[in-house]
Amino acid sequence: MRFDKLTEKFARGVARGTSRRSLLALLGAGMTGAAAFPVLPVARAASGGGEGGHGAHPGGAARPPMTSGLEQDPGDQSSCDYWRYCAIDGFLCSCCGGSVNTCPPGTEMSPITWIGTCTNPADGRAYVISYNDCCGTSSCGQCLCNRNEGDRPQVRPQSNNDYNWCLGSQSSVYNCSVAAVIGVALEQPK
């Protein structure tokens, strides 16, 4: 049984969603959905967040900074503080054999993604970021990052990062997550 009436209403409901992620409404509930990211508050402990862990997302082990080399794309891509990770949740593929926008070898990139909008501190632009999961190999275990600004409960999948987004892939086993620039947002983030 399918509640088609509800679908229609849902589409309208989503269109009234949060400012930053309301962009997604046009894609419809069936095409978008939540972040792929098996989040965990708990995981913070594993990364040594310790007492200072409140609010702070885990930065992972001490490593040399991993930079793009571009003045216009600043920051450490192995750090949870990197600008593109404003809505990511999971192991950073940059630390797993992939990169900020590439899955590690041997994994498959989830064909369906969650999309966020993050502001690049270098050029002040709000970019549309595609968060794709990499699938088919078990937990990378490196550079866990959990940022929940704008995250909403599962009732709004496109704004929730607790889903495992390894869905359209051959295997649903979750390895890590990327954050790729796919354009500039028309509206500025608030």
Partner: protein, 391 residues
């Protein structure tokens, strides 16, 4: 078994003596031979101090499990483990003495053809006693929420959330071990058992949607209730505290909303109210963690609170538990915790204990009535305890 007995028998026939006396010992008889093989059993009815900790095991996502824990026993808190692989969910039935896990498997661990299944485990032996394969490989995988797998129809059936990302609910007959039906439910998430045979989900526009089921597990009727929550400004955590048939939800900002699930259609209770405020917030006190609200048998609510509340802090864990009386709508106590806590539960004991699962995997026990710290169990049960459930 036979081969062991043979080996042990041979070993002792050739090598042992049960009467050998060591020189100078104050013990005339040696320790008795111990019977093998030997596997522990659990009581068919677990004591009220026992809880189930969901161990998400994020570092090895394929190897999740449920730890059965006696919170009253700091010496041997861990009573056994139940497999809960890959974003699993669990349920338990004291009546039937069964635990149910909903899991996902691949024949080559990470590759091959996906199988989703419910496994039925005996509570006394922790042995599997049956399996119900779920068709379509569509079981929702998420960081574990209790309300993705729930009972209905007096505990005879289970409801399971699917996400492909199309959303639906599968109806399973646990007693006859078969899948009954699937109900598409685009735009709505989570499963809150409602009435005798039905459920409610929360929908993306802030409404809720209640469905009643017929004898075949198909939808018999449905009803939408608009504007139950404002997801942008006052979103409700997906996991409520259950008091009888009332689900008490708490919002990201600490507002409490009751929903009566006793009838065929869910009924929001009037008078949303606040858990209260306090000094010392940076910037303010808000609920934070994975399982942030729970209830004792008397109906008091316990909310896990963090002073570092702000947009995005809602999964960061908390350092206090605020106790709230939902009838009088007042806060009755603040309990300071020993460490950053992720999930809270209350035991079924006459004098209930507050169980706090911490981010560092330590589990602490507090007297829920007085707020006094009673004991710690240490990190003796799980790597990533994210849910505290009563069996």
């Amino acid at each position: 078994m036979r081969s062991f007995a043979l080996a042990a028998g041979m070993a002792c026939a050739a090598l042992c003596s049960t009467t050998a006396l060591a020189a100078g010992t104050p013990f005339p008889q040696p320790l008795a031979e111990e019977a093998l093989p030997s596997v522990a059993k659990l009581p068919a009815q677990w004591p009220a101090s026992w809880v189930m900790l969901h161990d998400f095991r994020f570092m090895s996502i394929v190897d999740g499990r449920i730890a059965v824990v006696d919170t009253a026993d700091p010496v041997k808190p861990l009573k056994g483990l139940i497999r809960a692989s890959q974003f699993a969910n669990m349920l338990s039935s004291r009546e039937r003495g069964e635990i149910y896990t909903a899991e996902t498997f691949y024949p080559r661990l990470t590759r091959g053809e996906r199988t989703d299944a419910i496994t039925i485990w005996d509570m006394a032996t922790l042995e599997p006693k049956g399996e119900i394969v779920l068709p379509g490989g569509k079981r929702q995988q998420s960081v574990t929420y209790p309300h993705l797998f729930q009972f209905t129809n007096g505990g005879q059936w289970a409801l399971i959330a699917n996400f492909t990302p199309a959303q639906s609910v599968t109806v399973v007959d646990l007693v006859n071990r078969k899948v009954l039906n699937e109900i598409d439910l685009p735009g709505c998430a989570q499963i809150y058992p409602t009435g005798e045979r039905g459920f409610t989900s929360l929908c993306a526009d802030g409404s809720l949607f209640s469905v009643t089921l017929d004898a075949n597990g198909a939808a018999a009727s449905s009803k939408s209730v608009a504007k139950v929550q404002d997801i942008d400004k006052q979103a409700l955590f997906g996991t409520p505290a259950m008091v009888g048939k009332t689900a008490w939800f708490v919002s990201f900002h600490g507002m409490i909303q009751g929903i009566d699930l006793s009838g065929t259609v869910a009924k929001p209770l009037p008078g949303m109210f606040s858990v209260g405020t306090a000094e010392g917030g940076q910037p303010e006190w808000r609920p934070g963690g994975w399982q942030v609200i729970n209830a004792d048998a008397a109906g008091k609510l316990y909310v896990l609170m963090s002073p570092y509340g702000k947009e995005g802090s809602h999964k960061d864990g908390g350092s206090e538990v605020w106790v709230v009386d939902p009838v009088k709508k007042v806060r009755t106590m603040r309990i300071a915790l020993q460490g950053q806590t992720v999930a809270i539960g209350l035991t079924r004991e006459d004098k209930p204990m507050l169980i706090a699962a911490r981010a560092d995997a330590v589990v602490d026990v507090y007297d829920a009535t007085t707020g006094t710290f009673v004991r710690t169990l240490g990190a003796t049960a799980a790597a990533n305890p994210i849910l505290v459930q009563n069996p």
